[in-house]
Symmetry: C2
Subunit: 615 residues, 2 copies
């Protein structure tokens, strides 16, 4: 197998034909040829260097001894090459050591790398997120001392939010910061679930830490952000003493064993010194500014792992011979066929295909929105697009990671009994994927964010802008021959969705607020369904004319008969099949969910704790 | 926590109030008091002896050395006590050493034991299934030598079907049986994925083996069944020589590590002798007679593990304090609440509750059907009920295990980050549950069985009988005050379902057969939805009058206000909440799926292999 991570043809389709890259002088040097070269290089690194760490991460995992965490040996080489290739800051400003790529292109590179080993790439995700925090909020000294080394991956980064009694409820945290005479702070507290909290891939680790300055207000309004290095950094940038950030435990987890999930004790065995990052008591708002990026990265993890699950299952289904074709009947001479020929296996593969493609299109679109915000001079467009990103974030994080687990589970099922065994990657991909629904804000939190904040932000105008983008694609589809049935169905669903969104939004502001939030997750689900229908309709808009040109028809049977060995025609036929399958077969399931939200059954609010049962 | 496996009040409700036990002289001694005693004893054994093996099974697992498999130490004591309590043959004929309990009661006992450790109880499941094979097809010698010891758990049992090139396609197997002069057979071949294939819990293991006698017809028509002991058995019942059934490998799996999944080489290192069980070339039909039982057992595994996931999550949600109540708004004095008070957590718990309860009711109903078949003199009822069991089997196995994974996944989510860690049982329950969708016929096979065999068996009359049972409950519900909305919705859904079943059945017999089978799994899903709606309506029929009597109203708000400390009222209110939630909020999702089946989009048939993508 050449590589089991992503379908390069579909990557190119989304990158060059559907979503496209932003045309701006900042991206001048990234013409199609260069972009393709970059994607190929990322793919090569992913296959040759990162993929071989996948099993090591799971089987060897991370070990803790005397406060030091050791990652698998193969991780070191992969990390070194990843950093040497300057991938860590591929989309960042050249001034901070970045390569200034469009985010869409970065998306393609990440897709391969994360799909090769999501636990390994979490070291990247944490480091990049922390680097951006220093870039956005650091003072000159902090930037000078930390930033470039972090963007280069020489030093790692993390994010220290969660405490034993403060998980989703960040405002409850108790880690204390005490001002010292020299303007630094002494930090004391315990943080848990710290991804990449301690490891041996980097010379130093820089921890952004949420803590409370003595006397600060209660709740989230009294939280400040600090930069706390593992080793203190001298003025000349050299490493000083150990700063008493002690890893006291590693979580034993269902998956992503290759990433160290640490309990960190700060300042228990000696002074732990940090410097204020940004303003006092503004820690939460700083965090929120980074949140879109980190949530989108978790979405990329879900997507890339789902894509890998699909490619592996497809490969297996194409080679595994078992059973005769359903239509063979009693013909004793009929030969056994590859299992991709069995309708139920095919249905599962098509399911995996449509979700993977929907995820890909949405991610690249999201990335393009970021590029637009970064480059446009049109203030209205910039503001609208920035808001659109916020609206899309819970879908990118919540819906995609929910569906990623489903795709990975299908991936196990396609293999039959082998899918449950460690001999094939399917079961690890599924175990790894289960965390994506939880970290960076559980999907319940994402659903509340969509309903409680995104639906009503800017007086609902941002949500209207979001729906308008979908309508634009519907109008586009109306002009294209052969998409009649599809666009009508998406339009009907969108009209219905519009009613539901309005109704649940009103409910959330009424005395029925508890009822509204009981349906927050179903609302996230139908929103995701609509967005994926949009993405598939959009893909069909691009593919339909090209397919018609190549085979002279869009009729599925005629197409199947004429595709022959024309790989391009086969590809576009696949895009059309996905759109049809999603819109005709999966989207209808949304209607019932929409009805249920409108009906708003009160069982969730009404049921008493005691009625849930007893032992 | 007293026990985290099953809700005893709901067990009693299903056992005594909803489904009830069969009234027959064979079950005379099992009055309510005795039944409750049995359930309590099973519960005690499950909690005190089996539950402590749960983690051992996962962490220590099974090890293979020199062909011998060692199970965790704690398994030995649990197995010994399980066998001493005569639980293995609890529902079997006293003549074979059984206790002759009704299956409904056995269902309750199993629920606790399997929920405590499904991997451990798989040793029971395999042994019991093999014992029944000997009982049904053994000659006098085989019965005398093997049967009682197997039913007593002194000797274990297995089932040797699968081979490397013959998984779901059993007919392709190649294990060879050669007749010896003394009437025995020499067996040679390799079997894989053998649950409980080799272990140290029993003195001997008796393997029913599917093999092909030299010269037998190709395919399933040439397969015979043999009894192959691990150690040969002398005429006096004592153990003879090792019979060359060699465990050459253990599968490394995602879960159920406590059960040894073996590769067994038969006759590679010396003669391996078996005796024919039943008739030559009738091995498959013998297997099929056992299949309902083994598939139902996998359904019990799914159900019991889901129930355990629910009880654990409920316990956690009731004790874990985090965040303020949604309605606390900006009230700074509002205290944090237990997470069961957060609408999204409550929604997830209610989801887990309704599926667990639906599974429980369906399982006990299925068991009661078995009791009816076993005891009734009414030939028509016997035949109809036997057929109903066959119709229900793919739902009990396929739908329940699909939903069990979902319930277990919710179970992880309720814990947040802790759910992903091994500190709590949630993640293991989810990993364990993933196999249930695969073994004993993948759920794709179950879906094909429902569509291809069960829908049309006895010219469709058995399916009509099945639908009639649902209609009976609807008619019953019409007579009960307060169920108007619920029964109308179930009736509407059933009418719609009826149309879909007829249409997809006709399609399966037409030239559109591939299209029909592409929708086999969605058809299984909607069938399961309808069955669960039925079960919940039935439960409501029982609970509504009792609740009305206790609190004078069925209005959810009024009920919530009046329940107070009345535990019984709280329980019935919970039954009603489940019914409302399932029928009002989850069942509508089925409509869209039904529409999609009727529309019958052709993408799955049309898409070419090459259009699935490339690397």
């Amino acid at each position: 197998m050449a590589q089991p991570i992503a379908d390069r043809r579909d990557v190119d389709f989304v990158l060059h034909e559907q979503i496209g890259t932003v045309d701006h002088e900042l991206f001048e040097q990234f013409n199609k040829k260069t972009v393709n070269l970059i994607v190929s290089e990322a793919r090569k690194l992913a296959i040759k260097e990162i993929l071989p760490t996948f099993k090591d991460g799971d089987e060897i995992g991370c070990t803790l001894e005397n406060g030091k965490v050791t990652t698998p040996q193969s991780f070191k080489r992969a990390w070194k090459l990843f950093c040497e290739g300057e991938w860590l800051a591929m989309c960042d400003d050249p001034e901070v050591g970045g390569q200034g790529m469009p985010k869409t292109v970065g998306c393609a590179a990440l897709e391969y790398m994360v799909g090769a080993n999501s636990a390994f790439m979490l070291y990247y995700g944490m480091t990049h997120g922390a680097s951006k925090l220093v870039e956005a909020f650091g003072n000159e000294t902090q930037k000078k001392l930390y930033m470039k080394k972090m963007f280069a991956g020489q030093w790692g980064g993390t994010m220290l939010l969660t405490e034993p009694e403060a998980g989703s409820d960040v405002g409850a945290l108790t880690t204390a910061a005490t001002l010292n005479d020299d303007g630094t702070y002494t930090i004391q507290g315990t943080k848990i679930f710290i991804s990449a909290g301690e490891h041996d891939l980097c010379d130093n680790i820089i921890h952004p830490v949420l803590a409370r300055i003595e006397g600060a207000p209660a709740g989230t309004r009294g939280i400040s952000l600090f930069l706390v290095p593992k080793y203190l950094v001298n003025e000349d940038g050299s490493l000083g003493e150990f700063n008493n950030v002690v890893c006291t435990g590693l979580e034993e987890k269902m998956g992503i064993h290759g990433n160290a999930t640490c309990t960190l004790a700060l300042g228990d065995k000696g002074p732990c010194i940090g410097t204020l990052l940004g303003e006092e008591n503004k820690g939460m708002s700083a965090m929120f500014q980074m949140m879109n990026e980190s949530r989108a990265f978790v979405g990329v993890q879900g997507f890339a792992v789902a894509s890998a699950a699909y490619m592996n299952a497809l490969d297996y289904a194409r080679t595994r011979v078992q059973g005769r074709h359903l239509t063979a009947g009693k013909d004793a001479t009929a030969k056994n066929v590859t299992i991709i020929n069995h309708p139920d296996v095919k249905r599962q593969l098509l399911n995996m295909k449509v979700y993977t493609e929907g995820m890909r299109s949405l991610h690249y679109y999201y990335a393009k929105c970021e590029d637009i915000v970064h480059t446009t001079d049109d203030e209205a467009l910039k503001a609208n697009t920035a808001a659109l990103i916020e609206v899309l974030t819970p879908i990118v994080k919540g819906y995609i990671t929910d569906k990623a687990l489903e795709v990975c589970s299908h991936g196990v099922q396609v293999y039959g009994g082998y899918g449950y065994c460690k001999e094939f990657p399917a079961e690890q991909l599924m175990r790894d994927s289960r965390i994506f629904m939880i970290y960076e804000g559980t999907n319940g939190i994402q659903a509340m964010d969509l309903l409680g904040r995104k639906l009503s932000m800017n007086n609902g105008q941002s949500f209207v802008y979001f729906l308008d983008q979908i309508r634009k694609t519907i109008i586009e589809a109306q002009k294209i021959e052969g998409l009649e049935v599809l666009f009508e169905k998406v339009e009907l669903a969108l009209d219905r969705y519009d009613v539901v969104a309005y109704e649940i939004g009103a409910r959330a502001r009424s005395e029925k607020v508890l009822n509204a939030y009981a349906f927050a997750h179903p609302f996230l689900e139908i929103t995701g369904d609509i967005v994926f229908a949009w993405m598939h309709l959009w893909r069909a808009c691009v593919a339909a004319p090209k397919l018609a040109e190549k085979v002279g028809s869009l009729d599925p049977e005629a197409v199947a008969a004429k595709v022959g060995k024309n790989k391009e025609a086969a590809f576009y036929a696949g895009v059309m099949a996905s759109a049809r399958f999603f819109i005709n077969t999966l989207l209808p399931g949304s209607y019932g969910k929409m009805d249920a939200i409108l009906e708003g059954d009160s069982s969730v609010e009404d049921i008493l704790d005691v009625s849930f049962g007893s032992k």
